[in-house]
C-alpha cells in the first residue's frame, strides 16, 4: 500500500521514497533537501490545513496538493536506519 504524506499524523517521522511530480516542480523541493531517502516529519498544520514539515532541521510550508504527491513509508519498527541506508 502506498502512503502519501497527508495521511501521516503530526510528529510522526517518515521516509520519503518518491516525489510524484514533474521534474520542474520537484526540483525546488529537492534543492531544499526534500529528496528520496530523507526523513520528513509533519510538525504542524497551517490555518488553511496545509502541512508544515520538518526536514533537516528546517521548516517547510507546502500546499496539501504538493504534499499529496510525496510518497512516503513508515520507518521500520526499530525506527533507526543509518543515514547511508536511508538513500
Amino acid at each position: 500500500m502506498e502512503l502519501r504524506l497527508p495521511s501521516i499524523p503530526l510528529n510522526q517521522t517518515v521516509e520519503l521514497i518518491h516525489i510524484d511530480l514533474p521534474a520542474e516542480q520537484a526540483e525546488p523541493l529537492m534543492e531544499r533537501g526534500v529528496l528520496p531517502g530523507c526523513r520528513i516529519c509533519p510538525v504542524r498544520s497551517s490555518p488553511s490545513g496545509d502541512p508544515i514539515i520538518s526536514v533537516d532541521g528546517a521548516l517547510l510550508a507546502l500546499r496539501r496538493e504538493t504534499a499529496a504527491c510525496l510518497c512516503v513509508r513508515l520507518l521500520s519498527a526499530s525506527g533507526v536506519t543509518s543515514l547511508q541506508d536511508a538513500s
Binding site: 520537484a26 531517502g37 490555518p47 488553511s48 496545509d50 508544515i52 533537516d56 510550508a61 496538493e65 543515514l83
Partner: protein, 639 residues
Amino acid sequence: MGEAHCEPDASRQGTLVLDDSGARPLVALIGPPNSGKTTLFNQLTGLRQKVANYPGVTVEKHVGRVSLDADRTVDLVDLPGVHGFSARSLDERVTRDVLEGRMTGLRAPDALVLIVDATRLESQLMLVEPVLELDLPTLLVLNMSDELASRGGRVSDAALVKHLGVEVARTDARDGVGLDAVRDFLAEVTRRDTAHGRRLTNVPRGTALPMLDAFAARRMRVREIVKEAGYVPPGASSVSERLDHIALHCFWGPLLFLAVVLLVFQSIFTWATPLIDGLDAMVSASGQWVGGALPDTWYRSLLVDGVWAGVGSVVVFLPQILILFLFLGVLEDSGYMARAAVIADRMMYRVGLQGRAFLPLLSGYACAVPAVLAARTVDDERDRLATIFVTPFMTCSARLPVYALLIAAFIPDESLLGPVLGLRAAVLLGLYGLGIIAAVGTAFLLKRTLLRAKPSSFLMELPPYRVPSPRSIALRLLDRSRVFLRRAGTIIFGVTIILWTLTQFPRSDAGAPPIDDSALGRMGQLIEPAIEPLGFDWRIGVGLVTSLAAREVIVGTLGTIYGVEDDSDDAVGLQEALRRDLTLGAAIGLLVFFVFALQCMSTVAVMRRETAGWKWAALQFTYMLLLAYVGAFVAVRIF
C-alpha cells in the same frame, strides 16, 4: 523573501561605473535566502555601498566597497538568496549570470564568499557543490554559529576545510562577531595567492545524469561530508515553536495576520499624519521665506509657485513611506513575513496568485516600484508576472494627495455611521476597495487567459524567529529615503519647471498670456475632445497628461494652472476652483480614473525591465488606461 528589501528603486537610472577598478578584486557574496547574507554585506561595507544599475538588463544588485587597510580595498557584490542555480526564478538567473561573469557591466568575480545558516547546515550545503564547481577561491561562512552552539549542535571546521577544500569562518553577522576572519580572506584575495577551490567530484556540470539522480548524488556527498565533519544538528528552537503555535494557530493565526495588516495601514494613515503635517508646514514656511527674500521677478514665481509647491507637495510623503518600510523591515527580519505568506497563500491561490505575492502586494500600498521588484521572490514565472501586473492597482501613496484633494473638495464632511465612520473616510475606503477588486479581477482573468498554467506550487521555508537588527533596518530606510528624494528632485522638479514655462509663453508686452492662450492651455484644448465624455475640461486634461510622470503631479499642476489664472494658489482656492469647473459626477469619475490608471513612469520603466521588454509594460499601461476611461465614463453617468 528576505531579499526583497535590498533591491533598489528602478528610478535610479544612473549607471555606476564598475570597471574603474582593474586592480580591485571583485568578491561575490552568495547564499541561500535567510542565511544572513545581506547582514554580513552591510557589516562589511557599512554605508559605503552603492547601488549598481545595469541598463537593458533586468537586474540590480548591491555593490559595496570593503576597505581592508590603507591601500587595499575589495568590491563586494551582494547577490539574491538562492537555493540553486537552475535559473528557474529571476533571482537564480541573476546569480548564475554574475557568477559566470556573463552579467553586462560587471566583471567576473575573483573570489566567492558562501554564507550558510549553521543551524541548517545539511540542507544549506546543497549549494556548496555548484559553487565549488566555479573553481574560484571560496570562503565558507558558517553564520549563526552561536545559535548552533546554544541549541546543542556542533560541527568541526577542520573537517569541512579538509573535505571541501575551502576556507571556513564562523560568524554571527548580526552582532558583528567573526568578521575579522572574513576580512582576512578578502585581504588574501587582494594578494592573489589563495589556493583555488577544488571540485568535489569529477561529475561535469550540465551532466547527463537524470536530474533526480544528480540531486540524490549531490545529496549523498553532502551528507557524507557533514557526517565526516561531526555535524550535530541543533535541537528544535523552542521559542520559535511556541511562537509558531500562535502565528500558525487555526484561530489566532489569521487573527494575528489581520491585526498586523491593520496595524500597518493604521500606521500609514494615522501615525504618519502629524509628521506629514509638520513637514508640510516646514515646506510652506521655507517657501514663504524664500519668496519674501527674493525680488518680485519671474524667477521668484518659478521658484516659489513652481518648484517649492511642486517638489514640496511630494516630499511631505516621505514619513509615510518610511513608516511602511520600517514595518516591512521588521516583519521580514523577524521571520513573521514567511508565516504571513503561508496564511495568505490559500486566499491568494483562489484568485490565481500565491502566498509569496503577499509581500509585494502589501508593499504596493507604499509604492509600486519596490513592490514590483519585491515580486522577484515569487518563484513561479507566471505567478510573478501576474503579481506585478496587478501590483499597481494597490493604492500607492502617490494617489493619496489626489484622493485627499478631491474628497475634501466634493464630499461633504458628514457622518455615515455615527462617530465611527465619516462619509469622507468611507469614500476613501471605497477607493481602496475598488483597487483591490480590480486587482483580484485582473489576476483571475490573467490566469485564465494569457498566463494560463497548471496550478503552481508554493514552497516556503520558515526561518526561526529572530530579533531584527536596528542597524540593518536603519540602513534600508536610509536607502529608501535617498531613492525617494532623488525622484522628487529629478522627475517632479523637471515636470514642474516645464509646466511653469509653458504657462508663460507666448509672451506679449503685458507679460505672461492668459492661461487659456498659453502654450499649455492650447495643448490642453487639443486633448479636450478625448476627455469630454468623462466630464473633464482641458485643465484636468493637462493634469492627466502631466500626471503620467507621477500621479501626485496632477495636484501641483492644477495648483499651477489655477494659481496662474486666479492668483490664489492655496489649497482652499484650488478646491473652490475645482468645484466651479467639475460636477460631482466628474469628480467621482476622476477619482475612479486614478484608481485604475497607471500614471507612473517609474512603474512602467520598472515593469519593462522586470519583464525584459515592452510587451508586458505596454499591455499593462493600455489595459489600466482603458479600465480607467471606462470606469470614469460609467461613474460620471451614475453620479
